[in-house]
């Protein structure tokens, strides 16, 4: 097999010399590349020592992105409990990378996050409405919790009546889910809202505070 391997390595080197820049600069091309690798059963990001990483430089791009994602999530955890929309994560990461760095797409973020799962600390991706929520703490979220999060996406908050009306649950089931989200720090309780108590999801407040955190703060948040 080593002969085949050497031949492949040469082919890859040739490809890299012509198109390495393309991969670095063009997210569309990166996406195509990743999809094709997945189809044939190859993971170009499995190891920094792999050919793909060494010759095309894809590895460093994604592993560094992984570090930046971790830093952003840590910096904002005290506010949103470890749950953040993909959009906001995208904005914060772009900000942290500064003007000289290559642009990253949301697809790039998702791939980097999938790799981070190997580290065991609870990174997961939850589909909500038209987008995704990224969870960075090992809080237990089952189907009930996820469905309520999706419901909350419209207004940034949710109430017991809303849950009962849309999902047709009994009061007790709705209350339990909301209490769990409160306990995990993912929801805030608003008892002063008109009518009944509102449960707000800070993770879903996008425009309100997406400007506030600086790269400095993000780095300092790492213990």
């Amino acid at each position: 097999m080593s002969k085949q391997l050497d031949m492949f390595k040469t082919n890859l080197e040739e490809f890299a010399s012509k198109h390495k820049q393309e991969i670095r600069k063009n997210p569309q091309f990166r996406l195509q590349f990743q999809d094709m690798c997945a189809t044939i059963g190859v993971d170009p990001l499995a190891s920094g020592k792999g050919f793909w990483s060494e010759m095309l430089g894809v590895g460093d791009f994604y592993y560094e992105l992984g570090v930046q994602i971790i830093e952003v999530c840590l910096a904002l955890k005290h506010r949103n409990g470890g749950l953040i929309t993909l959009e906001e994560l995208h904005q914060q990461v772009l900000k942290g990378r500064g003007k000289f760095a290559q642009d990253v797409s949301q697809d790039d973020l998702i791939r980097a996050i999938k790799k981070l799962k190997a580290l065991g600390t609870g990174f997961s991706i939850i589909p909500v409405g038209g987008t995704y929520l990224v969870q960075s703490v090992p809080a237990e979220l089952n189907m009930d919790h996820t469905v309520v999060l999706q419901l909350a996406e419209k207004n940034g908050y949710v109430t017991v009546s809303e849950i009962k009306a849309s999902l047709k649950w009994e009061t007790e089931r709705a209350r339990q889910v909301l209490e769990h989200l409160l306990k995990e720090g993912l929801a805030w309780l608003d008892l002063q809202a008109p009518g009944e108590a509102h449960y707000w999801l800070p993770a879903l407040f996008t425009d309100l505070y997406s400007q506030e955190i600086t790269a400095e703060e993000a780095r300092e948040a790492l213990p």
Binding site: M1, S2, L5, M7, F8, L12, F15, K18, H19, E22, K25, P27, Q28, F29, Q32, F33, M36, C37, T39, I40, G41, V42, D43, P44, L45, A46, S47, G48, K49, G50, F51, W52, S53, G59, D60, Y63, E64, G66, V67, I70, E71, Q91, K99, F100, D103, S105, K115, L116, K117, A118, L119, G120, T121, G122, V137, P138, E179, L182, K183, P223
Partner: protein
């Protein structure tokens, strides 16, 4: 810039919004003009720009005016841009901000990022040309196509031709790249098939294949990025590379671990190590595989996995018994503590603080009080006071 018209910015029937982006500045050719901060909207029919501060100031241009578009990457002190080359304005155009313009192109500067996605969507709209199929009631610019007998200034024709050639060249490069990529993938697939057949042979004739050959095979798999569950079961995922890495880690992490009470989560280690390396970074899997070998190599660190799945690296000398005893003392002193409070007192991350308190609870030293206000731990008086 003389192609733009004043507009109220409202979309017509049949016209849909595709994407919008804040923080966009418009340049007339290379010149800065007064349209320096606004929201840029792309619809199926037009590009619309509205001033941030003065919402009345709103201009638009039909997509049919666009010859082609280019990306300009960000540079030092410069935002990423999209360059839009335009057909000349038609004579019956509605009034706009500029009567005449030196340049036949404009630039859009994305001061708050978003250039990539916007460019992608704009390219899509230019490819699909949806405005041709969905007429809108507003007077649209006449589509300037390849109409023979059209009177054009000679200079513009020359420029347009050059730009067209350049675009074809770029297109050619992209399609060449994709072609090369496809060819490469075919070869990669062959490698995958080959590795599968070898892996099966290893599974079947365990005795015939030497240890050496298996190790070599595993490093081939690593290079190609092929995961093979068969060999992983019998021989683990580690390779010589990971062994070396494990030894390196032991060296790098000794001091940071001592500074952090002898224990760090794998996420912290990942960030620390990669930030220090700067280049040739480790993948998360590389790190995990290396850490799995620490104990076997008798290095002074070890990998530990808590019940919750959280993974940490700790010094061998780290004695969890002592830690638990001191945790109990700390909690008793304060009466009760949450993970956050404990973390602050002791100077460790909240995640690890929680794990320690949970472990203390498991050992019977602490009791929990689980309420909406959070999880709080108390000394377990049921055990100590009978």
């Amino acid at each position: 810039m003389d192609r733009f018209v004043w507009t109220n910015g409202l979309l017509e029937i049949n016209e849909t919004l595709v994407i919008q982006q804040r923080g966009v500045r418009i340049y007339d050719g290379e010149e800065k003009i007064k349209f320096d901060a606004g929201v840029l909207l792309l619809s199926t029919h037009r590009l619309i720009w509205r001033d941030h501060k003065n919402h009345e100031c709103c201009i638009g241009i039909p997509l049919s005016q666009i010859v082609f578009i280019e990306e300009q990457a960000a540079g030092i002190g410069k935002s990423a841009k999209i360059v839009i080359h335009l057909h000349p304005a038609s004579s019956n155009k509605e009034p706009g901000p500029f009567q005449s313009s030196k340049s036949s192109y404009i630039k859009l500067s994305f001061k708050e990022h978003g250039q990539i996605e916007f460019y992608r969507r704009l390219s899509e709209e230019m490819t699909h040309r949806r405005w041709e199929n969905m007429p809108v009631s507003q007077v649209m610019q006449r589509k300037s196509g390849q109409e023979p007998g059209r009177i054009r200034a000679v200079g513009i024709v020359g420029i347009e031709r050059k730009l067209e050639e350049k675009r074809k060249e770029t297109d050619k490069n992209i399609s060449e790249a994709f072609e090369d990529l496809s060819k490469l993938m075919v070869k990669a697939k062959e490698m995958v098939e080959l590795s599968k057949s070898i892996a099966n042979k290893i599974k079947d004739k365990q005795g015939d294949i030497t240890e050496d050959e298996t190790i070599r095979f595993k490093s081939y798999l690593l290079s190609m990025g092929i995961a093979n569950p068969v060999t992983r079961e019998t021989h683990g995922s580690g390779t010589h590379y990971h062994m070396q890495l494990a030894k390196q880690l032991a060296g790098i992490l000794q001091v940071p671990l001592e500074e952090r009470g002898g224990i760090m989560s794998l996420t912290e280690v990942y960030c620390l190590v990669n930030r220090a390396r700067g280049m040739e970074l480790l993948s998360p899997e590389d790190l995990v595989n290396a850490c799995k070998m620490l104990e076997a190599l008798k290095l002074p660190l070890r990998l530990r996995i808590f019940d919750s799945g959280v993974m940490v690296i700790e010094l061998q000398s780290h004695n969890e018994e002592e830690m638990l005893a001191s945790a109990l003392e700390t909690v008793s002193e304060k009466g009760s503590l949450t993970s956050e409070e404990f973390a602050k007192l002791v100077g460790m991350s909240v995640l690890l603080a929680k794990e320690r308190l949970l472990l203390a609870e498991k050992m019977g030293h602490l009791c929990r009080d689980d309420s909406v206000e959070g999880l709080r731990f108390y000394p377990n008086l049921f055990m100590t006071q009978s």
